[in-house]
């Protein structure tokens, strides 16, 4: 029954159209002066120094990987949550094994200090 999803398509189109209209309003009604240092990047009033393409710290990347793995885990738990009514204790043990194995991984990550944001 994919027909229930059509309103999403229309909402996306309408929202994008509205966003374009708003930006167009801003461009039409706003002033357009090009004096001074207005078009430089903002750095609390001083001229910008240093490159903007310096690599960022690796801890961001680490957080993203951790998030990916835990997100996949939670997504796997959703079908279990829906059918848990019919499963009984067997389903509980299964899910428990799943989460316990992942908690082992989590405690390893914790112990290695990867969750420390310095």
């Amino acid at each position: 029954m994919f027909e229930t999803f059509y309103p999403i398509l229309f909402l996306v189109l309408f929202a994008t159209f509205l966003a374009f209209m708003l930006v167009a309003f801003s461009i039409i009604l706003g002033r357009r002066t090009s004096l001074g240092k207005k078009f430089q990047a903002y750095e609390c009033g001083i001229t910008p120094e240093g490159s903007t393409k310096d690599p960022v710290p690796i801890k961001f990347f680490q957080v993203a990987i951790l998030f990916l793995l835990f997100d996949i885990e939670v997504i796997f738990l959703y079908p279990w949550a829906i059918v848990s009514r019919q499963l009984g204790w067997f389903g509980f043990i299964e899910m428990l094994v799943f989460i316990v194995i992942l908690l082992v991984g989590y405690f390893y990550v914790l112990g290695r200090g990867a969750l420390k944001w310095d």
């Binding site: 229930t4 059509y6 994008t16 706003g30 903002y42 910008p48 997100d71 939670v74 959703y78």
Partner: protein, 354 residues
């Protein structure tokens, strides 16, 4: 191809509108297009009004907490202050940094704006007042909120500004860290409902206030607490608003945006706060159920209550540092939510739930 409005159950909100339009004799696909566009416009209208009201309300609450009055000039207690602000922002100049990445700089606020409103396809504002009751309702909303993260990263990168980039990445890292506890807290409620559809979740709490999930101890309150903390962090509100605070990192990822683009980010933030409160009400507070008053009044009232809670958080707690924020999520919330899932599953299988 059969367009779907053949059966009015798919659109509980506007079956009579459909009948009205059908009597005018439009051919089938165009009829569907008209109804859907009208629904989209209606969702936008309602949400814009709510967002305008929320901005005004936030300023009044903030002011009264700080023992001052807030906006008082435009109308009674400044009620149309926000409209004036919107008009002002509309005619501000759209300053564009010379070294920006043109495509990315333009599309970031558009993506944020669209993503904020996309969640309202499945939020029931009352009994039968839902645009489309998808059978993956709550998971769809979680999926749509991930687009906000992408827009944050786009805004940070497109501005070509070190502070914007760092602010955008910190903001994205924060939202992403708090998404795991949020999705896991929702899992607890879905476990007991047995369905992802929003209407089913609300109907499972029918029949009295003690059926609401927040009162089902011990997993209900724990799930609510973890959800509301994670949701505050997801909406980038204090005490978690390091990435976009005015004093830190000069407003973070949206430092280079002005005029209507900034207004789009700002509006999207308030709409996100409302979304998060609406989901909390649906999951934990019984949705639209309540005595005497019409269902949409109950829903709006409860949602404004949760929004009030979020505003109280903002104006009473100090800001958390970035490392405190991240460690709190990964070291405290994630184990607590997983333990909560196990406890809730135990309760369910042992039959101790009521």
């Amino acid at each position: 191809m059969i367009w779907p409005i053949a059966s009015a159950e798919l659109l509980p909100l506007f079956s009579y509108l459909y009948e009205l339009l059908e009597s005018t004799g439009l051919p089938q696909p165009w009829l569907a297009v008209v109804v859907y566009t009208f629904l989209a416009a209606l969702v936008f209208g309602v949400l814009s009004l709510l967002a305008l009201f929320l901005v005004w309300w936030e300023r009044k609450i903030a002011a009264h907490i700080q023992q001052r009055f807030g906006p008082m000039r435009h109308g009674w207690h400044g009620w149309y202050q926000t409209i004036m602000d919107a008009v002002k922002l509309l005619q501000k100049e759209d300053i564009r940094v010379a070294t920006r990445d043109k495509t990315v700089f333009f599309w970031a606020p558009v993506v944020c704006f669209v993503a904020a409103f996309l969640a309202y396809v499945t939020i029931p504002f009352g009994e039968g007042l839902i645009v489309a009751d998808l059978n993956i309702g709550i998971l769809y909303i979680m999926a749509v909120t991930t687009f906000t993260v992408i827009s944050l990263l786009m805004a940070g990168w497109g501005s070509n500004n070190k502070y914007a980039l760092l602010g955008g990445m910190r903001s994205a890292a924060q939202v992403v860290s708090y998404e795991v506890p949020m999705v896991a807290s929702i899992l607890v409620v879905v476990l007991f409902v047995g369905s992802l559809s929003m209407v089913d979740i609300v109907q499972a709490q029918a029949g009295g206030i003690w059926n609401w999930y927040i009162f089902r101890l011990p997993y209900g309150p724990i799930a609510f607490c973890t959800y509301i903390i994670a949701a505050t962090a997801e909406a980038n509100r204090t005490p978690f608003d390091i990435p976009e605070a005015e004093q830190e990192l000069v407003a973070g990822f949206n430092v280079e945006y002005s005029g209507m683009k900034f207004a789009m980010f700002f509006l999207a933030e308030f709409v996100n706060a409302f979304t998060v409160s609406a989901i909390a009400v649906i999951l934990f507070f019984g949705g639209w159920h309540g005595a005497l008053l019409p269902s949409w009044m109950w829903f709006l009232g409860k949602t404004f209550g949760i929004v009030l809670l979020l505003m109280l958080f903002r104006w009473t707690y100090p800001r958390l540092r970035v490392d405190q924020l991240m460690e709190f999520s990964w070291k405290f919330l994630v184990p607590v939510t997983f333990a909560n899932i196990i406890i809730a599953a135990w309760f369910k299988y042992a039959g101790w739930y009521w």
